[in-house]
């Protein structure tokens, strides 16, 4: 499985990356895109929305099925990746380059509660 060491993860197959500007980028893992198959639709949450940890905030649809995207930590949505509405297949091509939305965390320390690469690998296998 392709699970970069420097990212954090959720059991619901999101990856989470802390950016230099203090925001957090969120996408779905390579394992998740492989399970879903060809992705044809991505719906990210609205910018400005306040989200709670574990809340369903968006959706990814493949040819086969629809799957929710969850917020890994609490915060406010500050950006959505418009490229993916036009080209959802990018998630299949490179899941870790295809961030879906960014949030400004309520509490940066919440990131420490997420899975590290080793723990995610265990959880996903």
């Amino acid at each position: 499985m392709n699970i970069p060491k420097e990212l954090r993860y959720t059991e619901s197959h999101e990856w989470v990356r802390r950016e230099a500007d203090g925001t957090v980028a969120i996408g779905i893992t390579d394992h998740a895109q492989e399970q879903l198959g060809d992705i044809v639709f991505v719906e990210a949450p609205q910018v400005g929305r306040k989200v709670a940890a574990g809340e369903s905030v968006g959706v990814v649809e493949s040819v086969k099925a629809a799957s929710d995207i969850y917020a890994p930590i609490a915060g406010e949505v500050v950006a959505a990746n418009a490229d993916l509405s036009a080209a959802p297949e990018k998630v299949n091509e490179d899941a870790y380059a295809s961030w879906m939305y960014r949030i400004k965390p309520d509490n940066v320390a919440d990131l420490d509660k997420l899975l590290d690469a080793a723990a995610y690998e265990k959880s996903a296998s």
Binding site: G37, D38, V40, F41, E43, V59, E61, V63, K64, A66
Partner: protein, 362 residues
């Protein structure tokens, strides 16, 4: 314990993602499902459909028995090799299964039935046989495998691998079959493309598969099979119709033959109930998701429901088959509930795609 086809080890070796399909361990995709779909529309794809069951019917009562058991009329089958699509109905007019029946000679027909319903079908047919006293023997042929090679280059690829079959199969018209030794080659399919379905002894299937792949036919899984059949406007049993649904409400009136007074199972119920719904195609107009089975369809005439929906790789849009109130017409715009939104869809007459080309109105 899942059942396996003779090609199971090959699918696994090819890295297929396997799923439980009606109790069978089957490949859903090998790599990209969309690429497999395009291969069938543009060149040739290869499917293992050995989970489906061939059932031979032999005996002097075979034709009369099928005229009683099937909603379509096997009297249409006159030339040896000719095939017919039909539903088999309950007394209440629901669909027990849909199938293809092949005519070999007056005392030998062959049915090909769905995997998930195979045992139910055998029990049902046997019960009908006993009740009617028909002189017919039913033989399920689990010793056979079924391959489908589909696409504009499918027949050429097949002949390249099996040159001895060319003479007997090159003049086959659609919906007819030839038997060459212990192989049956039919110009049928479930994709809306040209091609063959090939029934052969299970032991010969792995070598035949490998040969066809070497000749350029791309292995395609059940995922692509589903998007292809939906684009082709073909029903899937268990999804678009089942025992609770009349063929008249599933877009299959064309397969129900009531031109003669023939007494087939379910006829009385069909005549009493008539057609209660229209069965239409939908094309999603708005962005916002993918049409899927069980989504509600809101029309001026009332509420309907999607029975099959997907993203169409050929059209680049989401499409669906839906059961809607009578009076909903091609060209109408309806609303489909997807999650918390209502999205617009245009009503069209299926099929959506045939022989690689869009049939959508501009």
């Amino acid at each position: 314990m899942l059942k396996t086809t003779p090609l199971n080890a090959g699918h696994r070796a090819a890295g297929a993602r396997m799923v439980d399909f009606g109790g069978w361990d089957m490949p859903v995709n090998y790599g990209s499902q969309i690429e497999e779909h395009h291969a069938v529309r543009r060149e040739a794809g290869l499917f293992d459909v050995s989970h489906m069951l061939a059932v031979d019917l032999e005996g002097p009562g075979a034709r009369a028995f099928l005229q009683r058991a099937l909603a379509n009329d096997v009297a249409k089958l006159k030339a040896p090799g000719k095939a017919l699509y039909s539903c088999m109905l309950t007394e209440q007019g629901g669909v027990v299964d849909d199938l293809i029946v092949y005519f070999f000679d007056d005392e030998h027909f062959r049915l090909v039935v769905n995997a998930g319903t195979a045992q139910k079908d055998l029990d049902w047919l046997d019960q009908l046989r006993v009740a009617s006293g028909a002189q017919v023997k039913l033989t399920p042929r689990r010793d056979l495998a079924i391959l489908a090679i589909q696409g504009p280059r499918a027949r050429e690829s097949f002949w390249q691998c099996f040159p001895d079959t060319r003479a007997a199969t090159q003049d086959l018209v659609a919906f007819s079959a030839a038997r060459i030794g212990d192989m049956m080659v039919a110009r049928t399919g479930y994709t809306g493309e040209d091609g063959f379905e090939v029934i052969l002894p299970a032991a010969l299937a792995p070598a035949a598969w490998d040969k066809l792949v070497a000749a350029g036919a791309r292995p395609a899984g059940l995922g692509a099979r589903d998007t292809l059949r939906l684009e082709a406007g073909m029903n899937l049993y268990g999804q678009d119709m089942d025992e609770s649904v009349s063929p008249l409400d599933a877009g299959l009136a064309w397969t129900v033959d009531m031109k003669t007074p023939r007494d087939f199972v379910g006829r009385k119920a069909l005549e009493e109930n008539g057609q209660r719904h229209d069965f239409v195609g939908l094309v999603l107009l708005d962005a916002g998701g993918v049409l899927r089975a069980h989504q509600k369809v809101h029309t001026p005439a009332g509420e309907g429901e999607i029975t099959s929906g997907t993203f169409s790789p050929t059209l680049g849009k989401s499409i669906a088959l839906a059961r809607v109130p009578r009076g909903v017409k091609p060209g109408d715009t309806v609303q489909v509930a997807i999650r918390d939104k209502k999205l617009s869809a245009r009503v069209v007459k299926p099929p959506f795609v045939r022989n690689g080309k869009s049939l959508l109105p501009n």
